[in-house]
């Protein structure tokens, strides 16, 4: 009776995590207080512009995710299916995909047949645009995920422990930071394309994702580390230390929650940059490899082959890229204002 739980030897501070927010909802408590997230959401909701562009971006994502449906059920053509000599019937008239002198057909505005026209190999631009969007967004998302995880982990680690680890990590990040992102991306991307590490080789679309994710790590590492440096001096961290919590617990339960708004703010900004960098690297030949579609490859193909004859092949993916990146950025700005009205977080370049 007298030794219920107090002295059980396994009661280390590390094992306390699960039960911490147990049961506050019960028994006559006031309704939950308005927390930082709720306040931010209220502010964000009032920002009409940010909400609109957030919705635009969401729409782009949904449509791109539906690419296979469009490809198989509506357009009946695959993204990489070249048909330079083919014909189809539009409004009762027979049309050539490519004219006799090789000029691809322009937008037909018929969603069943070459809605946005064809490229120089007779591929459906609309289908490729959706599939390309899928690839581009996927690369953006994966790269952002990699950047955020590595950048946050290293930043918290370096900022919390300081000393030698901090010096090493900071120098390493400065080296990466000093390189122009595109140059570094080309270098690593080319090496991975040729030699490869495990599954990361050749035409695998993960290659540019990993490369881009790596290149942007310092952009997250530096501000996270800086914030941890100030957070670790705050009294509530001292209070936790004074109670004997482990470093791990302090990092996860005291510091990380206070970083969360910074991290959330960075997600759209890094994502926009990642999508742009993907297009840039692909155009330079170090990103997504043909015949895979991405907005980058489409722009690249269009510029190399179609500029004089079918400029829509450049314009359309370029426009999509601009709209997508712009809406993420505007939404991200609104998110930043909502989460921390005073913050000045910007991703350069």
């Amino acid at each position: 009776m007298s030794v219920i739980s107090g002295q059980s030897p396994g009661q280390g501070p590390g094992e306390l995590g699960e039960g911490f927010d147990a049961g506050f909802e019960s028994e006559g408590q006031l309704p939950p207080g308005v927390g930082p997230w709720k306040l931010a959401w209220r502010r964000l909701r009032r920002n009409r512009v940010a909400m609109f562009f957030g919705f635009v971006f969401l729409l782009i994502v949904v449509v791109c995710l539906l690419a296979p449906v469009y490809s198989t059920d509506i357009a009946h053509i695959g993204p990489n299916y070249g048909n330079p000599t083919g014909t189809f019937t539009l409004n009762g008239k027979t049309q050539f995909v490519l004219s006799q002198i090789g000029i691809p057909i322009g937008p037909t505005w018929d969603i069943h047949h070459y809605f946005l026209g064809a490229d120089d190999q007779g591929r459906d631009v609309a289908v490729r645009l959706l599939y390309g969007g899928r690839t581009s967004l996927m690369i953006g998302a994966v790269a952002t995920l990699i950047t955020m995880i590595i950048g946050t982990l290293l930043g918290v680690f370096a900022g919390y422990f300081r000393g030698w680890w901090d010096a090493i990590l900071r120098s390493a990040n400065d080296v990466v930071w000093t390189y122009p992102a595109v140059l570094l991306g080309i270098t690593i991307g080319t090496v991975l394309n040729i030699h490869g590490i495990g599954p990361l080789h050749g035409t695998n679309a993960l290659v540019p994702a990993v490369v881009i994710g790596f290149v942007y790590v310092p952009y997250v590492f530096r501000p996270v580390r800086g914030q941890v440096l100030t957070l670790r001096e705050r009294d509530f961290v001292d209070a936790a230390r004074q109670q004997g919590l482990s470093h791990w617990r302090i990092m996860t339960s005291e510091i990380l929650p206070n970083l969360s708004s910074t991290i959330v703010v960075f997600v759209p900004l890094i994502m926009a940059n990642s999508i742009l960098l993907e297009a840039g690297l692909t155009y330079l030949g170090a990103g997504v490899q043909p015949p895979n579609a991405s907005w980058g490859t489409m722009i690249s193909d269009g510029i190399n082959n179609d500029i004089p004859t079918a400029f829509h092949n450049v314009l359309i993916p370029g426009l999509m890229l601009v709209i997508a990146v712009m809406s993420i950025n505007i939404f991200g700005d609104g998110l930043r204002d909502a989460l921390d009205p005073r913050s000045k977080i910007r991703v350069a370049r």
Binding site: L30, D235, F236, N258
Partner: protein, 448 residues
């Protein structure tokens, strides 16, 4: 006796958690008498909260209360016998100042806490006062091991904890808690009150199902509604936040709470409430306090003994009332002279010892007595020889070559305290004063 049996079992277990606490709790020190007086009182005023008197659950305390009872000691404090709860021996905290282009090299040290010794007995409140930058806060942070001392020893119940690792410290940290100056900064803005209190409760070993109930009781105990566990710190006022901070410290059922200017960030009216709360809690839970403040009137109200610090050194250690009625050190006199008095006529007529200027740079503290650069009584000896802490009658210690408000007889009877800094001169003020001739009977009228 019955109320001890009616304690909730978890409370009682938590009490007996650290094995050495049981040992140290068994010998009845002087304050056990206090528990005999206070416990029934706590039981009636506890507003029915069953956890009202866990301090009394030291088994058998009331039985032993009779022979040990000596109510006088709780106010006089200094004469308490037995192992002190917390003792500090020649503690130094020097912050290195580094500079250099490629390789850091130490170019100096900030003498934040420089050879400080004192002891705190169970149930006692020790006030620490001094100007800003005199090392009060650093001292507290060293004591709770947020900073690692440069040298010296901290003993908790006689056990040296100066270099203990995290695991060794865990049981001691449960007995020794800290309340911070800025209640806003010391509560994690991302956590709900329930989460803030759950952490120490779980550390104490409270089962998860009972955490919410215990949190509610804690909040009620510090004078708040128990239904705010879902709220965030920013939804409270400063005074309420400080109450939450106090509740967090109480959650592990400590014996000693170190308060780092707990009320200086609060409105005056709220200050009084919080101080009264601390008073009640002390009686109820048999707490000992180390109370840091720069406000002498606040310290006077709460303290049994008061330590006066200046530039990292102890100037005077005295039972609280004696410090105000009979300040020995000129620096203490100056501090007392700075207390505002509401009545302007009284204020104008009083004789004040005024010191001018700023405290010297703690990187290069003055030689000899640290206070000699600003002291109206300073002589050559003060510049060269550091005065030892000299023990006068009634447990009143002062480090001064030219003690004030004492008679020649008292000076002659005074002895060199073993809490003196190691670098201090061997000679107490009796010899110096005799040689000097001027200040031998330094019986200036009490300046208040």
């Amino acid at each position: 006796m019955t109320e001890h049996d009616s304690l909730p079992p978890d409370r009682r277990d938590a009490d007996s958690l650290p094995p050495d606490e049981r040992d140290a709790g068994a010998p009845p020190d002087a304050d056990a008498g206090g528990s005999g007086d206070d416990v029934p009182d706590a039981g009636t005023t506890g507003e029915g909260t069953p956890s009202a008197s866990p301090g009394g659950s030291m088994s058998g305390a009331p039985a032993e209360a009779g022979p040990a009872a000596d109510p006088g000691t709780s106010s006089e404090g200094a004469t308490a016998e037995g192992t002190p709860l917390l003792s500090v021996e020649h503690l130094r905290m020097l912050f290195p100042i580094k500079a250099g282009l490629l390789v850091d090299r130490q170019v100096g040290q900030v003498h934040a806490v420089d050879d400080v010794s004192f002891a705190l007995y169970e149930g006692e409140t020790l006030g620490i006062v001094g100007e800003s930058g005199c090392g009060k806060t650093t001292l507290i942070r060293v004591l709770v091991r947020l900073l690692d001392a440069t040298s010296g020893a901290i003993r908790f119940r006689g056990r040296d904890i100066t270099r203990s690792g995290r695991r060794e410290l865990a049981p001691i940290r449960r007995e020794m808690q800290m309340v911070f100056q800025d209640p806003q900064a010391s509560l994690n803005p991302r956590k709900r009150v329930g989460q803030i209190l759950a952490t120490p409760l779980r550390l104490r070993g409270v089962p998860r199902e009972q955490v919410a109930r215990e949190s509610r009781e804690l909040l009620q105990r510090v004078g708040m509604a128990g239904d705010v566990l879902n709220r965030f710190p920013h939804e409270f006022s400063g005074g309420q936040r400080q109450r939450i901070g106090i509740a967090r410290a109480l959650a592990v059922d400590p014996r000693l709470i170190l308060l780092d200017e707990p009320v200086s960030a609060l409105d005056v009216s709220i200050q009084a409430q919080v101080i009264n709360l601390l008073d009640e809690l002390q009686d109820e839970f048999r707490l000992s306090y180390v109370f840091v403040a720069h406000d002498l009137s606040v310290v006077r109200h709460v303290s049994d003994r008061i330590v006066v610090m200046y530039l990292g050194k102890l100037m005077e250690v005295s039972p609280a009332e004696q410090l105000y009625s009979k300040p020995i050190h000129p620096y203490t006199q100056a501090l007392l002279g700075a207390i505002p008095i509401p009545d302007p006529r009284v204020n104008r007529s009083r004789q004040r010892a005024v010191i001018s200027g700023e405290p010297p740079n703690p990187i290069n503290p003055p030689s000899g007595c640290r206070f000699h650069t600003r002291c109206p009584h300073a002589t050559e000896v003060c510049r060269t020889i550091e005065p030892p802490l000299t023990e006068y009658a009634g447990g009143h210690l002062a480090a001064c070559h030219h003690p004030q408000n004492v008679t020649a007889g008292e000076v002659a009877a005074a002895t060199r305290s073993d809490q003196s800094p190691l670098s201090a001169g061997a000679e107490g003020p009796s010899l110096i004063a005799a040689g000097d001739g001027r200040e031998t009977s330094a019986t200036a009228p009490v300046q208040r």
